[in-house]
Amino acid sequence: MKFKEVNKNVNKVDGLSLATGRAKFVDDVDFKDLLIIKFLKSPIAHGIIRSIDTSKAEKIKGVHLILHHNNCPYISHTTAGQGYPEPSPYDTYMFDKKVRYVGDYVALVAAETADIAEKALKKIKVEYEELPSILDPHYAMKKNAPIIHDERSSTGIYNKKKNIAGHVKVQVGNVERALKDSDVVSEFEVETHYSQHTPIEPHITITYLDEKGRLIIRTSTQVPYHVRRICAHVLDIPEKKIRVIKPRIGGAFGTKQEVYLEYYAGRVTLLTGLPAKIELTREEEFLSRTRHPMIVKIKLGASKKGILNVIDMDVISNTGAYGSHALTVMFNAGSKCLPLYKAENVRFVGTTVYTNLPVAGAYRGYGATQGYAALEQAMDVLAEKLNMDPVKLRLLNHIKKGETSPIFAALGEGKKGVPQYIKSIRLDDIIEWGSKKIQWEKRKPYTKKTGRYRKGKGMGIFMQGSGIPLVDMASASIKINDDGSFNLLVGATDLGTGSDTVLSQIAAEALKTTTDNIVIYSSDTDMTPFDVGAYASSTTYISGGAVKVTGEKVLTQIKKVAAEMLKCDIKDIECENRIAKNKKNNKKKTYGDIAKYGLYEKNQFQIGYIGSHISPVSPPPFMAVFAEIEVDIWTGKIKVLKYVCGVDCGTAIHPKLAEGQVEGAAVNGLSYALTEGYIFDKKGRMLNNNFQDYKIFNIEDIPKLEIKLFPSYEPSGPYGAKSVSEIGINGPVPVLSNALYNAVGVRPTRYPLSSEYVLKLLEEK
């Protein structure tokens, strides 16, 4: 395929404005009389608010408003910014008289300065009746466990009495029998850990009234349209009264798919008439949303020859105090992992439980990361039992072009999925390349290793999806300007990923113009057409699809006007590089001529169109990862010597940005595997809520990375594209774990792989 504008490294459309510090983030405009909102947070993990006294706080000069459960409507909702109706339970309230984790919001103060607000918070008197709490997901379903959501008004909870937010069980074939019939069976269980997205810009939201009294929400969100809908519901005002604007935002990775700050600020603004701001501190950001920790158990059965016959996966997911994305993240641990391997008998049992711990939510990888932590280690355990090379086992069993998996249809987004066949996959090429890069053939078992520093190699293969099939919808609007340039309006949300650039390239390709002739404006619910937002790896694939169909429609209009001007048949018109020409006589009109004719001269109309797109399938991108590590058996310290990662994302619309997604996700995953993790005390308080004690990788921590894209052509995607942004994070946990086993013969089941933990494993060996 020959492209002109896509599959090209154009300069990021907002690159220079960001690099010069001119780009405007939420906080980069000034508001007069801005109120600052601060929250009073629960000091206990589980309890009832017996009384709340704000009289002293109210008297402080500069305090404008104090809100809590006694003066706010009690409207159940979910903070999961998903499509409607959301597949997450409605178990959250602006304020409730019950608190369910340390950090739960008890009250807010809106004051003229942050200092005044903080001072007022200290003057609020709250009496709590402490309840027994659940700080361990194993305990949640026990008979004597306290009930976290006993309120009648919450809906969509699978089993309130057992603290089960969501549950699913699907089976194809006969798993029990297949396990008995298999020559070799392996079993493996891991428990993944709490971690946070830590976007460098913490959550921030500013609300104000426009001159017509409408509520404007300027916010760091991935989902402007869901913000509008959820705020309309919680504030009990119609959508028409709300406008949501997403300016530049400083990273998100899923945590800004949560809608849980905007309505507080909105209520303050509606009640006071004043602009209001909520800006989380880094400390608070750690208690915003997290990755669902999971206990994942896998059984695999295979024939002597290594043909996988059965996969049995059991997941217990911990959603914390509220069920945001409770059902769907757990589903994805199955739906994004199980189809990778062909097995005729597959079972997935998933249960999401409530605990009195921080609230989980969407996080890059969305359950697949946790699922692969188990699956890709279980594959290595099986390979060892079979006495087979792990690479060979995967080559034998992974899904191939033209094949399908019954899991695609059985497991979707909190409901049944859709059947689909693999149309693009370069996994074998990636595995071959990666094996060479890491010199896989030289790998020796751990029994052959001696000395203080022991090297080990590990690998794994992965897939993800591209949008949610038949659910995610995106639209785009394109109109022509006098000079033949185009305005492209999209609801799609650029989180820093570069989607404004990628979508501009797709528009330029479809319109036969250049990317610098596309003027993009995105993510403003008054101005741009609907888009579900940036999640589920959907933007390039789904929003890109919308831009492509819209561009093609507009191109047809251009051709029609050109044919009228050139007095020929539309079939004879050909467009290229901003020019329409009659191929019979070579007479030409520029897009500028055509635009002016259409706007001013004859049969005038605005050349333009609003197009929408959904996809019946969600083609997976594929990835293989290889790593070599060195373990210091005296200290337990793991050093990653080399990390090799190849990704098939279809056509990379912007190869550098696509690589950047993989690099960023890989490093995020490495730091998740090696250093990140929440430490709680016995009362459920997080002890390491800052960047000194919660260590994310800096530039000195990154190992030698070799990252490469393996282009394929996905027929259902815009110009052959699939997704790329999430898959990279799935690699590090299982691959480093496999490498650890290969180095020293211990298999980790907890994370992060800290020196202390590795040392403990070595001692227990």
């Binding site: 990021k12 010069t20 001119r22 906080d27 997205h197 960047f691 990154i702």
Partner: protein, 154 residues
């Protein structure tokens, strides 16, 4: 109190509360390229160049900068005429969300002003105080190397 500073090449005086954080002060006078990622000196998004050295402005009080020279991202280049480091960052694809980027670019500048031919280790040491969650640092490192080359040619 009144402070006199050299801010982005210009001598300026301000009437200030000396206990205000430099980060808040700079943002208040309109230099919004100085970002706030933590307020505890751990992320580098508020980094500025003070007398040629990279420092986190959230850890400084306005009273401490009287008489000193300060550079922020606004003093480097513009969209029309970017500084070579800014250009290199964009060309290499080192800018994703861009929130960490002003601090990164300033840290790179403080390095390159002193060491026009830095090693990878120099670059890593110089940028180690700046956290980025988007890029994985790979392209940032490349961009600094490229910028160094561009600046040497000038």
């Amino acid at each position: 109190m009144k402070i006199d500073i050299k801010l982005n090449g210009q001598r300026k005086s301000f009437e200030v509360d000396p206990s205000e954080k430099v980060l808040d002060f700079l943002r208040r006078i309109g230099l919004k390229g100085v970002k706030k990622g933590c307020s505890t000196g751990d992320c580098g998004s508020c980094a500025i160049i003070l007398d040629g050295k990279i420092v986190n402005s959230c850890m400084l009080f306005v009273g401490q900068i009287d008489g000193h020279t300060i550079e922020t991202i606004e003093g480097l280049g513009t969209i029309e005429e970017p500084h070579p480091i800014q250009k290199a960052f964009v060309e290499e694809g080192a800018v994703q969300c861009g929130f960490c980027i002003p601090g990164m670019i300033l840290a790179a500048k403080a390095l390159l002003d002193k060491k026009p031919t830095p090693s990878i280790t120099d670059i890593r040491t110089a940028l180690s105080g700046n956290l980025c969650r988007c890029t994985g640092y790979v392209k940032i490192e490349k961009a600094v190397l490229k910028a160094a080359k561009m600046m040497r040619k000038k």
